[in-house]
């Protein structure tokens, strides 16, 4: 992975010093909270319900074991013994103090990490495919471009106070694992013999996003040579900076500008601006590519034979119990992914044990243990997925059984990747001051309701995503089943959407009707799932069945007896208070 040179290191060190001074001025009262707020946000520091929360960048999801150990140390020293991996390849610490933050950032800088631009109205931490460089369906390794753009966007002066936050997603594989079309700018990397002398090019999608107005991005540029990304993105961001709405917070994202102008007109304005910039010296040079790309060469893979599925299964000792063997098989099926290199596989460690406190949480001990697993099994590197799990990307197939056993010890081996309980959820009302409703108890209740692996395996691929408010940090819009917390007269209610999807067939889910109370949600999910079980054809996934059947049978099931139940509940409450 990328290693800082003295310039990168100087920059993060100087950023720590700058923030230390800003905190000092805040604490001595010369910097007002209103004016400090954007400054701390641009360094990932939120003021939450109970305490400050620090969001640390894991650029494009890559993490070394040493970095993970530092995150573990921070969770122990400054927080309450855990960290929360987010949907945008960041980690959050929920219980830090303002006074400690400069020291935490200094600790992070020592292992080439920072919290720069993890929040605020600027270009955010760049996200990409958690399987970059190893996925069997990859046509371009996106990591050099991710790193070049990380550098380009870091402390970019012109775009430090955009109308609203701005998220880049970058993909280079056949399957989209980045939710590319839900980014302000989605960059799809390609190689085509006929364009740019067969060198890397980018297709640019603009104006995607979730939040209040979920929209999929529009294709505005194809075949952009990689070298010209800085000038093109400058043009794009300049049009947004100048003309994005600033009168209404809820209409300030680029998606609203692209929608208002129409994507063709927006593209035309960007081209007009780019005309003046494309031959300038902002563009990347080959020397810059070479300097960065040399860090993303392949690790020292052994020359190994590819093991068949049967051979991998037989790694389990013959004397192993049938239950263990079945468990290993399930884990192989859900948590192990194909690799580009024969004899290797990628392994997903599930941070979604059933009944978890929060999807994506890892304790100090788990982080330290997982760092050891990375050293032992995967060249000391890890990835963070946007589904809030961790990946050991380069594991020898022959080691899979040993790794499975070690992962079980840390409770990160549940074979539920891509299943109903692999829930994406934001921290919600338990922590976040923006939230209208809690997310975590809903996730826990659903995991407990469906705590049966036989049943989950039978249901197959289903995504269930939960957001505690319309900001959509839990990506509910693209969950096959989405749960959104809403506030009605000071009470927490939950709206259900169906039909959302991430990946190449990305789609925004549709609201099925009036919202539900928290304690109704597990039953509602059961009714939706039962409808699928009853109606599905052989081998038809939930989303395929939904597309064939439409919303009606699911909706009817979800609201069946709802009215009756509410009446009964009212009666019970009346009699309860009478007693």
């Amino acid at each position: 992975m990328y290693k800082y040179d003295h310039i990168d290191q100087t920059l993060v060190d100087q950023r720590v010093a700058q923030f230390r001074d800003q905190v000092f001025r805040r604490l001595n009262g010369t910097l007002a909270e209103e004016e400090f707020r954007p400054l701390r946000l641009q360094n990932g520091l939120y003021h939450q319900r109970h305490a400050y929360m620090l969001r640390v960048a894991i650029p494009y999801g890559l993490l070394s074991s040493q970095q993970l150990r530092t995150l573990a140390d921070i969770s122990e020293k400054y927080d309450r013994g855990y960290g929360h991996f987010t949907t945008r390849q960041n980690i959050q610490f929920n219980w830090v103090t303002l006074e400690d933050t400069p020291d935490i950032l200094a600790d992070l800088a020592k292992v080439e990490m920072h919290a720069i631009q993890t929040s605020g109205n600027c270009i955010r931490n760049i996200t990409s495919d958690a399987f970059a460089g190893v996925a069997s369906d990859e046509y371009v390794d996106p990591r050099p471009v991710c790193e070049l753009l990380r550098q380009w966007s870091t402390l970019h002066p012109e775009f430090a106070h955009l109308p609203r936050k701005f998220k880049f997603g970058i993909n280079g594989a056949k399957e989209d694992r980045t939710v590319l079309l839900c980014h302000d700018v989605g960059i799809e990397l390609k190689k085509n013999a006929n364009i740019n002398n067969g060198e890397l090019t980018a297709d640019i999608y603009a104006g995607g996003g979730m939040g209040r107005t979920p929209i999929l991005g529009s294709l505005i540029k194809t075949g952009l040579p990689w070298q010209l990304l800085p000038s093109y993105l400058t043009a794009l961001l300049r049009v947004y900076n100048r003309f994005g709405r600033r009168d209404n917070l809820y209409k300030a994202r680029i998606k609203i500008l692209v929608k208002a102008l129409g994507s063709e007109e927006f593209a035309r304005q960007v081209e007009g601006e780019w005309l003046h910039l494309q031959n300038g010296n902002d563009n990347f040079t080959q020397a810059e590519w070479d300097r960065v790309a040399k860090h993303f060469t392949k690790p020292a893979y052994q020359s190994l034979e590819k093991l068949s599925a049967q051979q991998v299964l037989e790694l389990a000792p013959a004397a192993d119990t049938a239950v263990n063997k079945a468990g290993f098989q399930r884990w192989l099926e859900r948590n192990v992914k194909d690799h580009q290199v024969p004899g290797y596989a990628s392994v997903i460690l599930s941070l979604k044990p059933h009944g978890t406190v929060a999807p994506g949480d890892a304790t100090t001990a788990q982080m330290n243990a997982i760092a050891n697993l990375a050293d032992q099994y995967s060249f000391g590197e890890l990835r963070v997925t946007h589904e809030q799990n961790l990946v050991l990307a380069d594991v020898e197939q022959a080691q899979l059984y040993k790794l499975w056993q070690a992962a079980k010890q840390q409770y990160v081996a549940l074979p539920n990747i891509g299943l109903l309980t692999d829930i994406i959820a934001c921290p919600g009302g338990d922590f976040c001051s923006l939230a209208n409703a809690k997310s975590l108890p809903i996730a826990k209740a659903i995991q407990e309701r469906f705590d049966d692996l036989d049943y989950l395996f039978d249901l197959g691929d289903i995504s269930l995503n939960i957001s505690g408010c319309i900001n959509s940090c839990g990506h509910h819009h693209v969950g096959n089943i989405g749960v959104l917390g809403v506030d009605k007269d000071g009470e927490e209610w939950y709206q259900i959407t169906l039909g959302g999807e991430q990946g190449n067939a990305a789609a925004i889910g549709k609201v099925i009707g009036p919202s539900f109370y928290a304690d109704e949600i597990p039953d509602v999910i059961s009714k939706i799932i039962n409808t699928y079980s009853e109606e599905r054809s052989v081998d038809e996934s939930f989303i395929e069945a939904y597309r064939r059947l439409g919303v009606t049978p699911f909706k009817e099931a979800a609201y069946k007896n709802k009215h009756e139940n509410e009446k009964n509940k009212d009666k019970a409450e009346v009699s309860g208070s009478a007693a």
Binding site: D5, H6, I7, D8, T10, L11, Q14, R15, A17, Q18, Q22, R25, T30, E35, P38, L39, N121, Q151, W152, S153, T154, L155, H156, P157, E158, F159, A160, H161, L162, P230, R238, N241, R242, R246, H276, L277, G280, N281, D282, T285, Q286, A287, E288, D290, R291
Partner: protein
Amino acid sequence: MSINIIPSHEQILHFPKGEQAHLSANEWLIWSSSQDEAGNVTLPDLERSEFKKVLVPFTWWRSQLEAHQEAEIQAKAKLGQIGVWFAADDDILNYADLIEQGKTLWPLVAAHFPIFRDGRSFSTAALLRSRFQWGTEIRAIGDVLIDQLLQGARVGFNSFALRPDQKTDVALKQFDLFTVSTQNSWRGQRTLLQSAQSEACLVNAQPTHS
């Protein structure tokens, strides 16, 4: 902050390219083209003002040209007494001809920050420098705070009318906070490019084994 209450400044923070930041006395009144007590919109009387030069809103300048008052304001401008300031929503690219003409008329231009977290004037300054090759002073005015100075200096501002409550000693130190950069700016090329180039030189300088 309303543009009607742009404060006067005793001192201006200057940070010329390639030089040290310093303070110097302000010569410029910032006029918002608001109505006077009689309800008229007239240029302030500089004879009676402590400031002998005035920055006028670009929209007012345009309105004068449209009203054929060109001769009068250009005469004043020729004395070096008039500059213009751009509001955050002025689309300067729509008035390229006027701005080209302004190069010989306005000794000073400014771009206004209605509130510190509104970054539109960063793009205005960047465009003035890169598209119009604006070579003389560009001043940041309005809600200009200490923590915008670095960004402002990099996009193309070289003087700052700080909001009066800002501490100038802290402000003066801002420009030394970073010695490296990862993207080009008006002040110079990204330092990261230099390290890429020196690495490339090293690679090329190594003897090749044939």
